[in-house]
Subunit: 227 residues, 2 copies
DNA sequence: ATCACACAAATTGTCGACAAAAGTATCATT
DNA sequence: AATGATACTTTTGTCGACAATTTGTGTGAT
């Protein structure tokens, strides 16, 4: 029961989704040049739809384009991760604040149920939690902000790039139980209708998450240097 | 001496800029249906470049598109303004925070000079300040964040929509001197390298600004009702 | 008079071809 | 051998035409 299933109506949509998935999952590696003719034969569509797909990918910062030269998949870097998470902290902090104001009581109950469901998984040792559960939690709060600008920016825009970092840097890592506690505190603040606290806790939560990834990233780098 | 002059290299760029300007300035009214064929004859380009321009406009939330139906210029509403300014508060707050950390001393000096320059204008009673000066101030802080995601989102994305609200609701209004004081306080916080305070002051500044517009908007509405 | 269906008109989506620009290789000159 | 100019190749940008979908209209039945 996914809360948000964007459905492809046009051929350009399908191509956009396919391309985005291929890039995010790393099938098309970071830094690759995206040749329009090549992709048009590979995906069996005209160059026009490829161009539109690439334009959309550019809009969510997954590829970079230069006029008369072409598009490349963005390069992942520590600095880029830092910048991305600064923006994420800002926007999701605001989302949590607004969620504390605008979520309905039913929404909040659903959120609590989700966490309870996770709690049992965490205790039983499954880390099934991380990927699906974590994004579900964050999605609900973002949607709970009831702010369409915010929702679009985060869900259609940034989250795919965030996922690209997480997938390609192999972030199936730990940080399960501590993140779970943080989630609980956030929900408590929302339930108490405390926007100030909800924002602060969400920002901290995302800062920790960033540090976790950044640490793994730099430790991977040092491993690489010594190998 | 504009800090940021995006230059059109391709024909699609030019059309995008023209269209954006026409919409923001209200020449193409809010809510208008954008016919591709019509625009292609009007701007003397092919439908392909019109489509690309419309796609880009959609990416910055200036038009809304439905598949197989078409694109319309967004409708301006109190709720939309509220949402927009919530996001703006969040992002520019973060920008001020980062500016306090990342701006060079020269950058800060330049900012101070700008304010001094404005001070003389304010005292001499010219309200030349508002439009150009205000955006210049905010631009510098946004650029001072040195965060490319943030910069792109705000400068290439949101600011045109913000300007659309300000232009079309006739915001040449007052609030000059009080905004000037707020600007000074923000710069002081940045100079003191106090990110926490800089963010808080910027957020307050934008909240006030929103209230100012919202008040004008609702008073206009009531005038309309009684006339 | 109203609703349903079918048909027509108009608009968007997709395609292949041409034009223009960037990149590459070759050759001449120093 | 290095450098610069020139021709060539490849890739992106732009265009007009066709296909598919939606919207508006009109006809007929209830």
């Amino acid at each position: 029961m996914s809360l948000f299933t964007e459905q492809a109506v046009t051929s350009s949509d399908k191509t956009f989704f396919s391309l985005r998935k291929a890039i995010v999952e790393g099938e098309i590696p970071s830094g690759t040049k995206l040749s329009e003719t090549e992709l048009s034969t590979k995906y069996a569509v005209s160059r026009a739809v490829i161009r539109e797909a690439i334009n959309r990918l550019e809009a969510c910062h997954i590829v970079e384009r230069k006029a008369n030269v072409g598009a490349r998949v963005v390069a992942l870097s520590q600095a880029g991760l830092e910048e991305l998470y600064q923006v994420r902290e800002s926007l999701e902090g605001m989302a949590a604040r607004l969620a504390a104001l605008n979520m309905s009581d039913e929404d909040i109950n659903g959120l609590t149920q989700l966490l309870n469901h996770h709690a049992s998984n965490v205790k039983s040792g499954e880390s099934y939690y991380q990927e699906a559960g974590d994004v579900d939690f964050h999605y609900r709060i973002i949607l709970g902000s009831k702010n369409n600008h915010l929702i679009t920016m985060l869900v259609n825009g940034m989250y795919h790039l965030i996922r690209m970092y997480r997938v390609q840097l192999g972030m199936a890592g730990p940080r399960v139980t501590t993140a779970f506690d943080e989630h609980q505190h956030i929900v408590r603040a929302i339930r108490n209708r405390d926007p100030e606290l909800a924002e602060m806790l969400m920002r901290r939560h995302i800062q920790y998450s960033k540090n976790n990834i950044a640490n793994k990233l730099s430790s991977d780098n040092s491993k690489e240097r010594t190998s």
